[in-house]
């Protein structure tokens, strides 16, 4: 038994290595990221001091990068908990090395995205007004509620499956033993504890899916509940959810490829994982195109003058470059790369994923700005140029994400070790049993 245990630990040593070995690269990365974050923090303090005049926001474009990034980051958060929950629920065995990476993305990105509406406030202290004078019939407050619920659920959903791994770190000893002891909640790996944990994870994964879907639907309501041309659309809810899952999968693939390379996780994150996920990415790309096509075709066919102003602003006007780049990045490139086996390599998938993330950011830009730039009132068409402050905070937000991820991987295994062990011990038998149950044969009589 002891020999067996030692052997297993040796097999998975690569997963512990980033925690116990700290190279110069780690300090260098953290240092650079901290400098970027400090600069962004300085720019934010400057914005609070001087007011929103330091941003590119103006009349009529009163929402800029901050709201674009808010929608974008919350969308990326769908990578994690939602995908992980769906894979767990469908008992996809290939999920095991992926789920934690996905769940971490959600927890970090949700925190970053959730802060953006506060950054967008010229007076951040006024956020406290929602506690005393909030109006629950406002979609903005639905957002606060649903994002808080999703963040809580995602954090719990990230934490609970980590407990057995935290206990492993506790048992290994070291400087942080007490920290791990605190977080492991007395886990000893008994049958009763396993039963309790599995039951809790099962309840959570069912719960988290509707919460995740509701979050991005509610975010779309901020736009679609107004009568603003280009926003007032009944398909915005599912359109946003599809876009969120699409960008989420792409972000997950980028993170997986980066950590595979940096931590040498080739034995865990195999080509097959990338191929399965990239197939999902391809499906989402087609689905995204279908929604985009339906959205614009309906608008063009109706030819309502104000609606047409917005559409033409995107198709042939100042935002044409962003609109058509979005189509190329979100549809043409991923479909070409991911449809042909020849291109479906790790490099090809990375390329397609990067284009999708950029494309989905452009999509958020195309939704937010052109509608504001072309209001119904008889005002001239507006224009928006982000300022250095907005660019700095955007880069700062990305740096916070990378730093959060790097620090997480320094303290916890980035791949669920106990789930990998469980997979080795039980999956083959379980899958064999499941496949046999699908095959023709005498039906089980449960009724």
């Amino acid at each position: 038994m002891t020999e067996e245990k030692t052997k297993t630990i040796d097999i998975d040593e690569a997963l512990y290595r980033p925690i116990y070995e700290t190279g110069r690269g780690f300090y260098l990365t953290v240092g650079i990221l901290l400098m970027i974050i400090l600069f962004a923090a300085f720019m934010y303090v400057r914005q609070v001091y001087y007011g929103l005049g330091v941003t590119g926001m103006n009349q009529p474009v009163t929402w800029g990068f901050y709201i674009v990034n808010f929608v974008f980051f919350i969308g990326i958060s769908h990578a994690g908990t939602l995908i992980s929950a769906i894979l767990r629920l469908s008992k996809a065995e290939w999920r095991r090395p992926i789920t934690r990476m996905a769940e971490v993305i959600t927890a970090i990105v949700l925190a970053i995205g959730g802060l953006h509406p506060i950054i967008d406030l010229g007076r951040p202290d006024r956020v406290l007004n929602i506690f005393t004078a909030g109006r629950l019939q406002s979609p903005l407050l639905w957002d606060v509620t649903s994002i808080t619920a999703y963040f809580t659920a995602s954090t719990v959903y990230l934490y609970l499956p980590m407990i057995p791994d935290i206990a492993k770190l506790r048992d290994r000893g070291g400087k942080l033993t007490r920290f791990y002891d605190f977080l492991s909640w007395g886990w000893q790996g008994t049958d009763h504890q396993k039963k309790v944990l599995n039951r809790a994870i099962n309840i959570l994964m069912v719960m988290v899916i509707p919460i995740a879907v509701s979050v991005h639907t509610v975010i779309s309501y901020i736009f679609s509940m107004t009568l603003q041309p280009g926003w007032h659309s009944t398909i915005f809810g599912p359109y946003f959810v599809v876009g969120a899952i699409f960008s989420g999968i792409a972000a997950l693939l980028i993170v997986m490829i980066a950590f595979r390379k940096v931590f040498h996780l080739e034995n865990y994150l195999k080509l097959i994982h990338f191929q399965y996920l990239s197939t999902l990415l391809l499906i989402m790309s087609l689905l995204w195109f279908y929604f985009t096509f339906s959205e614009y075709l309906t608008g063009i066919f109706g030819a309502e003058p104000h609606e047409m102003d917005v559409i033409l602003y995107k198709f042939t006007g100042p935002y044409a470059i962003f609109f058509w780049s979005m189509v190329v990045f979100n549809f043409i490139i991923p479909v070409i790369v991911l449809s042909f086996k020849k291109f479906k390599t790790i490099k090809g998938i990375l390329f397609a994923s990067i284009t999708v993330v950029i494309g989905m950011w452009l999509e958020r830009l195309n939704i937010v700005i052109p509608s504001l730039a072309n209001p119904r009132m008889e005002l001239g068409s507006g224009m928006y140029f982000p300022s250095l402050t907005e660019w700095s905070l955007f880069v700062g937000a990305i740096a916070v994400f990378v730093l959060g991820y790097v620090l997480f991987s320094k303290f916890f295994p980035i791949i669920s070790i106990w789930e990998i062990e469980e997979g080795r011990e039980e999956s083959i038998k379980e899958v064999e049993k499941r496949v046999k149950s699908y095959l023709p044969g005498p039906a089980e009589t449960s009724d």
């Binding site: 005393t132 619920a149 609970l160 407990i163 309790v196 944990l197």
Partner: protein
């Protein structure tokens, strides 16, 4: 490290864990109170209280369920853990 030190360390950690669970409940109860306050504001102002009540009927149970799951896991881990461990070691 002797067993007395170990026991006191275990007690401190257990207390900290209990405190963290309590914090989660405080957080959830605070959210529920906040949402109820918003309903009362909307009733006072006759400002679409129906919608506020509908949203709170969904939101409040979600938060309570999440806190309950965490509590269930925490209690479940500590309940019978020593006797189960002895049984496992006996195997």
């Amino acid at each position: 490290m002797n067993s007395t030190e170990n026991t006191s360390r275990d007690k401190i950690i257990f207390t900290a864990q209990l405190a963290s669970i309590s914090l989660i409940w405080i957080f959830v109860i605070a959210i529920a109170i906040w949402i109820l306050n918003l309903i009362s504001v909307s009733v006072d102002l006759n400002d679409a209280p129906g919608i506020s009540i509908a949203i709170s009927l969904v939101a409040i149970p979600v938060f309570f369920t999440l806190a309950s799951i965490l509590t269930y896991v925490f209690v479940g881990f500590h309940k019978n853990s020593k006797s189960d461990l002895n049984n496992t070691l006996g195997d």
